[in-house]
Each structure stands twice: as C-alpha cells, then as structure tokens.
C-alpha cells in the first residue's frame, strides 16, 4: 500500500479495480481542514484522464508495471499487432482497447506497450505524433484572415483542422490528448 505522501509522477495505483497512472499531483492545504492532494490520473486501460482530489493520508494499492518498446505492424479486423523490440515476439491488443489511439498509430512507428503484472494491458501514445498530410484542399486565394483553418486528412485517415498554409505531402504534429493540430515538424 502507498499513501498520498508516497505519490510520485508515473506511479500506478489501483482505484475501482482499474490501473490509474499519476500524471501530476499537487498538495492543497485549505487551512480549515485536512490537506488534500489534487491528482491528475490516467487510466492505463482506456487512457481516460481525470482529476481527483484525495484526502491526504489516503492509501492505495500500488501496481507494478513496465514499459516495453514495440514496433506497430498492422491491424486486422479485431486486433492491433506489434513486434516487441527485445525479442521480435508478436503481441496483439484488441481494437477496442486502443479505440482512441488507433487514429495516431502509423505502421512501423515505435511506441511503449504497458505491461501490468506481466500482462499486456495497453499502450502509451506520445503526447504529440507526426503524421503526413495525404489530402489538403488548396487555400482559397484572398483568404488571408489570420487564424482561418481547413480540414486535412492524415495518413492514418485521421482528419484535423489545420492552418490554411498546410499542403499535401507535409508532415504535421498532432496533439494526441486533444486531437488538434500542434504545429509543423
């Protein structure tokens, strides 16, 4: 068991039987009651992020986990298939477990797979990924209003709003938390 005073970034705790990773935490001392810890947690199975405040001193079961580097190979109708860097072993994750990440997964990209208790349970998508634009409508002449955007299609099929100057064939960065354009590479 770990107490809130043992909290560290990236630590994984068990809450409602799910593995939650501590992304960030900050102690708050309201002065008129016990201290609390405002915590940002990410569910390692669903990648859902939420903020929760715990009473200082609350205890949790800590979950041992490890990352393994893997190459993303392909997806079929049911699974996404990876090859582990350490031994080229093929492993797969059901599509429903990577529902939110699949749009950012480009074949041959190296990512971290998450193992909890020796079992593959999810993947850690980087905060920003680089993807190539495969379809971009040309900018309309005279449309010089700053901040105007257009919808472009990326190599994984993902569609994002990007500034009008982005052209087909360019590679752009996408924020995987918000699904928004995050700059040029």
């Amino acid at each position: 068991m770990v107490s809130t005073s043992d909290f560290e970034k990236n630590m994984v705790i068990k809450m409602d039987n799910e593995p939650w990773q501590i992304i960030d935490f900050q102690f708050v001392h309201p002065g008129k009651g016990s201290a609390f810890v405002r915590t940002t947690l990410k569910n390692l199975k669903t990648n859902k992020v939420l903020e929760k405040s715990f009473k200082s001193g609350e205890r949790f079961e800590e979950i041992e986990f490890e990352y393994k580097k893997a190459l993303y190979l392909y997806k079929d109708r049911k699974n996404t298939v990876f090859s582990l860097k350490e031994n080229n072993q093929r492993v797969s994750l059901p599509l429903e477990n990577v529902e939110n990440e699949i749009a950012y997964l480009k074949e041959q990209i190296v990512i971290d797979l998450i193992y909890i208790g020796g079992e593959l349970s999810g993947l850690n998508i980087p905060k920003k990924v680089a993807l190539k634009v495969i379809e971009a409508p040309p900018a309309i002449k005279g449309d010089t209003v700053t901040g105007s955007t257009k919808t472009v299609t990326l190599e994984t099929g993902l569609k994002v709003n990007a500034p009008i100057f982005i052209k087909e064939g360019e590679t752009i960065l996408v924020n995987t938390e918000t699904g928004e354009y995050a700059g040029r590479t």
Partner: protein, 342 residues
C-alpha cells in the same frame, strides 16, 4: 544571464505591485501598521501548523514563542486599542505544507481591517483592489493566466456556498448538520470514507465534495466570490444570525486560484473563547501540539472591539496571477524548496 534577467524583472514587478497595494489602501485612509512576526501566543486553528521558536536573552533565560501564521490576532488587538482602518503587509509562516506549487513555508500576506463594516464592504475592497492592480499594470480589466483570459471587471459573480452545493451537486447543505446524513451522501457518491482514508470529519466531507465536484465547475474565466461558509469552516467569523449554520466568511477565486479569505469578525469574546477551546480539543484529537489560548487576545475582545471586517490575502499568489507565473518557486528569488534541498 537570461535567467538572471528574468528573476530581476519579476522582482521589479513584485515591488511595483507592493507599492500599488500600499497606494490603494493609503488613498482610502487606511493606516499601515507593523506587528510582530515573532509572538508569544498564536492562533489555535487545528489545521494550520505554526513554527515553534525558542530563544534566550542575555541572562540565558529562555522563552518560547511562535512565528505568526497570520497577523490577525495582533491586528485585532490594535482594533481593541482604538485604531481605525488598518492594513499590514508582512511575512507569515506555516509548516507541514507543500514546498513549491502554491505553497512556500514563508509567504507574504496582506491583511486589512475595516471598522464599522461587514464582509460585504470588504468584498467591495477586494474587487476594487484587484481591479486597481490589473488596470495599473495592464491598462485593461482582464489578465492572461497560463493561456486563459480572466475577466476581473466589476461586479464579480458572487455565489454562496449553500447555493454552490445546490447548483453543482444538488446537496442541501443545511441537512449536513447531521454528520451521518453527510456521510451517507458521500458514500453514495463513491467516496472512500472508511478506515483506509483515515476516518473523516465534517470538514473532510466538505472538502472531498467541494474539491472534486464544485471547484472544478466554478468559472475559470472570472474572478468570483464564494461566501457564507458553514460554521465548521469559519472559526473566527461572525454567525449570520444567532441560530444560523452559516457565518459571514468569503473566499476569492481568480481563474480558479484561491487568493483571499475574509470575514465579518467575531467580536463576542465568550463565543470566541468557546471556539478556541473546541480547536484545542480537536488539536488533541489530531495528535497535534495543544496550543495555549492567547489570553491577551480574549482580553482585547472583552475590552471591546468595534464592529469590523477583515481580509487576509496571499500576496505571492496574487503576484503569480498578475505576472502569469505557475509555480511560486519561479516568483521567489530564494524558494525554500531550493534552499533546503540543496
């Protein structure tokens, strides 16, 4: 070099903000006072942890005292001596809190007291002070904090704590006077209130719900005032009426950050003494040092203080907001975290 320049720029801006705060109060006829940082007695508040200090004189006689956690007692003693509207900018100290983030064990606090006034007039002072600072620094009535625009124009939205519980979590706070009822609601909401969480009291339940469900829903693009706190949350504030469950206390949130805590001062010495004794009992229960009640403070109330209302405002946090700084360690030239961990 760039870093040094940044630190210097911040210190120049901090000094400018302090000057502006002094201007603001002096223009309104408040007297600036200086009360001791090292005192013999201190607030008994159960959840605030003072630095206890020992020192000796030239004859090796030893004394025991504290570093103030706020100048409140001294300022009220001055009110009892017949002072009018007063303010102080001083250092205060609290321990068992985080180093960095929104906390530093030594911090700068502004307190002001307005006589013949209740908390509504102090709400007005607070709004006007923040407006004055933002306007002087930026020539408009909004600021950008961590990429978000915060509107500070008047009047600020005001919501009572009771309304907030009703609006955001559909809880009738009146009914929580019954602790078991409050516990049942928290349990139904899925909060862990068993022994694993170390047991909970009324204030714990209040904060669990407030921090998890209410604070995140408070507007972040405005400065707002949350007022009328239930009695367990208002040790030094005056009750709304004799039988009320609420006291005249308010807090100020700017862009979601709490920067000030104010109330209509409790002037009834019997009621005050009763609450301080309750604090002592709770401190004992929490295995904390039982702090002696400041007799001269009770004496001051006994001799009579005028109807007054005051506010305590964290200057460091206000400066962080005004200067768009996320961590107090970037504001202070010598943050405790760095000093004590190197």
């Amino acid at each position: 070099m760039k870093k040094i320049k940044k630190i210097k720029d911040i210190q120049i801006k901090r000094a400018q903000i302090l000057d502006l705060i002094r201007d603001f109060f002096k223009k309104r006829g408040f007297l600036e006072v200086q009360t001791p940082i090292l005192t013999k007695d201190i607030s008994t508040e159960p959840y605030i942890n003072p630095f206890s200090v020992q020192f000796s004189d030239d004859r090796d006689r030893t004394y025991h005292g504290y570093l103030i956690t706020s100048p409140e007692y001294s300022l009220k003693k001055l009110l009892a001596q017949g002072f009018g509207n007063i303010f102080e900018i001083t250092k205060a100290f609290r321990q068992k809190e985080a180093l960095g983030g929104l906390h530093n064990p030594e911090f700068t606090i502004l307190e002001w007291y307005r006589i013949h006034a209740n908390y509504r007039q102090v709400m007005k002072d607070t709004e006007e002070l923040v407006c004055y600072l933002v306007k002087k620094l930026y020539h408009h009535l909004y600021l950008f904090y961590q990429g978000k625009k915060i509107d500070v124009s008047l009047p600020w939205p005001r919501i009572s704590v009771k309304q907030a519980f009703k609006k955001y979590v559909q809880i009738n706070l009146d009914k929580t006077k019954n602790l078991n009822y409050f516990k049942t609601i928290a349990k139904e909401k899925g909060y862990r209130i068993g022994p694993a969480s170390g047991g909970v009291n009324w204030n714990d339940l209040f904060y669990l719900i407030f921090l998890n469900e209410i604070e995140p829903q408070l507007p972040k693009d405005r400065a707002i005032i949350l007022y009328d706190y239930p009695l367990p949350q208002a040790a030094l504030a005056k009750k709304k009426s004799k039988k009320s469950f609420y006291a005249e206390r308010f807090e100020v949130y700017v862009g979601g950050m709490e920067i000030a805590n104010a109330f209509s001062e409790l002037s009834d010495w019997r009621e005050q003494l009763k609450r301080l004794k309750e604090d002592q009992i709770l401190r004992k229960k929490l295995n904390k040092e039982v702090i002696e009640i400041d007799k001269t403070f009770i004496q001051a109330l006994k001799s009579g203080i005028p109807l007054a209302s005051g506010n305590a405002l964290g200057i460091d946090r206000l400066q962080m907001l005004l200067l768009d700084i996320k961590d107090i360690d970037e504001l202070l030239p010598f943050p405790a975290k760095k000093m004590f961990n190197s």
